[in-house]
Each structure stands twice: as structure tokens, then as C-alpha cells.
Amino acid sequence: MNVNDSKKINIDFENLVILYKHYKDFLLPFGVIVASVLVIIYIIFPQIQQYFNSQDLVRAEQQKLDALNNNYSLLTSLDDATIASDLNTLSLALPAEKDFAGIIDAISYVSAKTGVTVGNFEFSLGNLSASNFGGTAYPSTKIDLSLKGNAKNIANFTHEIIKTMPIAEVTAINIAGGTGSLTILFYYKPFPSQNISDQTQIAPLSAKQLSLMKEISSWNSVGQAGMPVIPSVPATSSAGVSGSPF
């Protein structure tokens, strides 16, 4: 007996018709189940995926809205005149560009206050390449000063000059007899890009910052209100930094 022959299935048209007639009532339920599976794969799963994506989006947008609301409440709670005055003071303390007039005024003021006579002085501007102006780099104007006065007065001069606007750092002191020389760096820093989006997050000043603001306000100030170069408002789409040294 040939076993292989017995396993052969004859799928001709007549057999198919017989099978169709026999199972045609099952076709509809089968089709419905297949259609349901397709709906699950192609509609429900993407919808569920979209739900989770939308949830993330809602969360992100809610955070953005909260930040905007915080910005708005902070801005409405601030006094226009106080902000303008603070900005003016801070711009005198840290000018946006080299402030030769401010430096000379500061030296003259401290000289008169401490009874020290200022002799020759010499400015040097250091590295003026763009990389020295961005990020946390602080460009400075270096000045070598010759002073006449007793040691105590010259020491007082260094004490006062670092508490005078614009912000300065004394890097070397040389006192001998009735004369002395100082090397002082006067810092400046260009303002950031003026193309500031209203969506940028702002926060109230911290206690430390408020304390610093108070301290700086108590510094000697020779500059007049409105003198420092404060960037124009509203924002423009200009270059990345303002207050270019040139």
C-alpha cells in the first residue's frame, strides 16, 4: 500500500465549493473577528499610543503655562521705577562696555576721599577677541596708577576703590615711602542677546542676590542716572551680544 498516496489532498474547485457550502455560515463571525483584530492593531493601539504622547505633551504644556503664569505674576508684582533704578545701578557697577569716563571718575572720587594724589596712569585693554566676552569670561580694563600719599591712605585707597562703581579688582600694591603704585582691573560685561523671548523663565531674586543688590547700592557711585549704556527695549533680532568693545 502506498502511504503517500493516501495523504494527498485534492484541492480542486469542486472540493472548495463543497467546503465553502459547508462552512459559509462561519465566514461572517470569522470575518468580524479578523476585522476586530485589525481595528485593534491599526486603530486602537495607535490611539492608545497617541493618548500617552498627548499626556506627555499636556504635562509639558502645563509646565510651560505654569512658568508663564509665574513670570506674569512676578512681573505684575514688580515696580517699574525700582527695576529701572536697579538696572541703572547694576549697569554702573558692571558696565556693558569699557567705561573710561566711569573709571576716571571713580579714581578721582576715591583720590579726593582718601587724600591720595594720583600721578601718572596707564590703561591697557588686554584680549579683545570675541571669546573673551561670552559666557563667564569677564573682560577688563587694566590700569596702573602712581599714587602719592602715606601708606595708610594708599591702603584706604585700595579699600575704597573696590567699593566704588564700576567694579574693580586690585591685583598688585606697591607702597614705599610716600609713594605707591596700584594695578587695578575694572571689569565690564556686554549685555546678553537682546532677542529675548517672553517665554524665557525668570525667577524672583534670591535672598543672596537681594543682599548683593543692597551691598552694591551702598557702593560709591560717581556715575549719573541714565549714563550707562543700557540696551534699548523692546527686543530686536540683532547680534548675539551688545555693548561691543568697538
Binding site: Y51, S54, L68, L90, A93, N150, A151, G177, I202
Partner: protein, 178 residues
């Protein structure tokens, strides 16, 4: 020949089984269909009810409110910028002025500073005066300054001399700035 007569045809039994299967298949199919339809509608409705549009509308309203305060916004932004930079500059400033202040504070009135040289790392001072007691007190105060305050270290008294002609003591001190 068999005595018994089979009244239930095996064909009918088979047919009944098939009809049962068909009924189950139909119930399952339509249950699945309704379940899938219900879930699809539910997910669709849930997606529709997510408040993304209302949040975006609120954002637009808030942004337009902020836009009306743009000048104040930019000024405040610059205030923060200046304060941050001033904080950085003050933190990185060297201690030259602090050293001067500290030495001025401990210098007795009857001693005078002959010379003082300070740079970022080194400090040297020559003091003179007629009182050895004051000189001694000054040395004690310098020692305390180097031990307690975080300003100078490695204090070396290089010379303590007496100028007999002028009856003046002179002291030379060197230190490293911390």
C-alpha cells in the same frame, strides 16, 4: 439483524453540534466586535477630552499679557544678568584688598608702614616704630591673623632690627596669600 431501532439520526446530532459551534462563533465574534468598538470610541473620546487646546489658549492669553509688559520683562532679565555676573566677579576677585584691610586693622597707631608689596600670591611688609611693645603686639596679631582668618599663610618674620641712631625698631614680614 439488530433488534433495536436508532430513532436519533447521527446526522442530526452532527448538525446540532455544528449549529452550536456556529452560535458560539457568532456570539464571540459580535462580543469582540462590540468590545473593540466600545474601546475604540472610549479611547477616541479620552483623547478628545485631553485639555491640550485649553492649555494652549491659556498660554496665548498669558503670553499676550506678558507681551504688554515686555519692557519690564527685559529690564528684569538684565537685572538678573548683571547680578549673576557681579556675583561671579566678586567671588573670583582676589584677596589683595582684604589683606590690606586686615593689616590696617591690626597696625598699632604708633607704628608706621615703611613699605608694603602685595600681589596675587605674595605679601611683604616693613613696619617701623619706637615701641617694642607695639611691635610685639603687632607680631601677635599677625600670628592670629594667619591662624584664624583665611587670608594669609606661611608668615615669616624676616628681620627685626633696631636703628640706634633714630631709636626705631623695624620689622620685615613676608607671607603667602591664601
Amino acid at each position: 439483524m439488530s433488534d433495536s431501532i436508532n430513532l436519533v439520526s447521527p446526522k442530526n446530532e452532527q448538525l446540532e453540534k455544528e449549529q452550536n459551534r456556529l452560535r458560539i462563533a457568532r456570539v464571540v465574534a459580535f462580543s469582540v466586535m462590540f468590545l473593540v468598538a466600545a474601546v475604540a470610541v472610549l479611547v477616541f473620546v479620552v483623547n478628545l477630552t485631553l485639555p491640550i487646546n485649553s492649555i494652549k489658549r491659556s498660554e496665548e492669553v498669558t503670553l499676550s499679557n506678558i507681551a504688554a509688559l515686555h519692557k519690564k520683562f527685559v529690564q528684569y532679565y538684565f537685572v538678573q544678568d548683571r547680578i549673576n555676573h557681579l556675583t561671579n566677579v566678586i567671588e573670583k576677585r582676589n584677596k589683595v584688598s582684604d589683606v590690606v584691610d586686615a593689616f590696617l586693622a591690626i597696625t598699632p597707631d604708633d607704628l608706621s608702614i615703611g613699605s608694603m608689596q602685595i600681589d596675587v600670591k605674595k605679601f611683604s611688609l616693613i613696619m617701623s616704630g619706637g615701641s617694642l611693645v607695639s611691635m610685639n603686639k603687632f607680631i601677635d596679631d599677625v600670628t592670629i591673623l594667619s591662624q584664624k582668618k583665611n587670608i594669609i599663610q606661611n608668615v615669616v618674620v624676616q628681620q627685626l632690627s633696631l636703628d640706634v641712631k633714630n631709636n626705631k625698631y623695624s620689622i620685615s614680614i613676608q607671607a603667602d596669600i591664601k
